[in-house]
Amino acid sequence: MSDRPDHAEPAGAAAVRERSTGRPAIELVRVSKAFGQRLVLRSLDLAIGEAEVVVVIGGSGSGKSTLLRCIAGLELIDDGEIRIEGTPVQRAASRRRNRGLLRAAGLLRQEVGMVFQHFNLFPHMTARQNVALALRLVRRMPRQEAGAVAEAMLQRVALGSYRDAYPDQLSGGQQQRVAIARALAMHPRIMLFDEVTSALDPELVGEVLKVMRQLATEGMTMIVVTHEMGFARDVADRVLFMDQGAIVEAGDPEAIFVAPQHTRTRAFLSRLLER
């Protein structure tokens, strides 16, 4: 995405980007995370390249949402390191009680966009206001300009005519597309999708997947947690199967779906496909 106007970027982002071209978009090194006694991520190692689309599948409790949340900075890891475009954003060592987002994380938070299962739109704002808010407050864009960018984003997800609608006037699929537009407005280089179609009625799922497919072809780096196997087979560069906090199997979508190696993978897929 090289067509960003200069004043839309935070001051240091260009420097960060220059420093890190050629590095993987996201790296997790021995990342562990526990909630109380329960270990949710077990020493995960993962590297995701630029423009790669990675789909993560797995049962509930497997840690896939937590994985996304740690990358986004919503959860603090207990051990290991997370790097975005080469720059560490979280670093923890279980021996020492230091957890926290590193200073670089503030800047890089804007490089990562996230879309949630339950949309999380701001109910007291119209679609356009939802999309424009961060532009005004974080990028300090003047109101007019933010509104124009917001409208363009809404056009991109085919919701241009709904810009003055409130979330409760929109269908689930429309709300989710607004949420995607809102995340895209900040021009992130990485987009995280946390089961974004799971809360939708089946007939509304397609319109959201369509937007996501388009993003993939445009070269967005994406991590998608989903149960939509069709989408995974069509769009993913790589599929990861997670179980109990670890990546059990990883590979080509065709390979995973047609000839899974691991027994747990096979068990999960057969349970899923028999529905």
Binding site: A72, G73, L74, G106, R109, Q110, V112, G113, M114, F116, H118, F119, N120, L121, F122, P123, H124, L133, A134, L137, V138, D168, A179, R182, A183, M186
Partner: protein, 222 residues
């Protein structure tokens, strides 16, 4: 019943003056207390959820104290004791507004806190990933939603304040009750006058309670 009600003591020219003055003070005190009470309540709620000791504890002490002691006692204390301790001069109205504001504020603090906490975690997640600071997220996303939840309660708080404003007669604030009490002392006709007084309060608060119900229906949070 051997008492003969004679309503001329109520329906006469003097009464217009009495009611006008009394109403003015009642309404001024009630509205000022509503405004200040909301400010105090919001601050107290924010302190309570801030999680930075000792702020939540201080807020909790304030809220607990003002909810467990009688409003009358609070009023008397603020009018008689506080000026001596703090070395300041407090007019009866000032003391009255302060006492009612703190009283209403304690109640409103809990309403605000519940309103803020009822906003799902997802909203905070969304503001975080968009890059908003905690302050921005509170002012632009959380507070507007909390206010919408709190709005219906405001009507009831105002009604409460109008009723409690009658307490201010004990510190000689010339509101409605004080005016009527003075008139009773002059005319020795408590039955007619106090009946009229009760009706006056009813006429003040009943339309408000209807409006509050309407507000509640309109702003109901699904």
């Amino acid at each position: 019943m051997s008492y003969r009600f004679e309503w001329d003591v109520v329906f006469n020219a003097d009464m217009v003056t009495i009611v006008t003055i009394g109403l003015r003070y009642t309404l001024i005190v009630s509205f000022l207390s509503l405004i200040f009470g909301n400010c105090v309540g919001l601050i107290a709620a924010v302190l309570r959820i801030s999680g930075k000791p000792p702020l939540p504890q201080l807020a909790y002490i304030y809220i607990d104290f003002f909810r467990t002691t009688p409003a009358l006692v609070q009023l008397i204390w603020i009018f008689y004791v506080l000026p001596i301790i703090a070395g300041i001069d407090l007019s009866p109205i000032a003391a009255g507004v302060i006492a009612l504001s703190l009283n209403a504020g304690a109640f409103l603090a809990e309403v605000f806190r519940a309103g803020i906490e009822s906003i799902g975690k997802g909203q905070r997640d969304a503001t975080f990933v968009l890059g908003l600071s905690r302050f921005q997220s509170f002012v632009h996303v959380l507070l507007p939603q909390a206010l919408r939840r709190v709005l219906p309660a405001t009507g009831n708080v105002l009604i409460s304040l109008i009723k409690d404003s009658a307490l201010l007669t004990t510190i000689a604030v010339p509101e409605l009750t004080y005016q009527f009490q003075t008139d009773v002392a002059r005319t020795f006709r408590p039955l007619e006058l106090y009946t009229a007084l009760a009706v006056m309060y009813f006429l003040l608060t009943y339309p408000l309670s209807l409006a509050a119900s309407a507000l509640e229906r309109r702003y109901r949070v699904t």
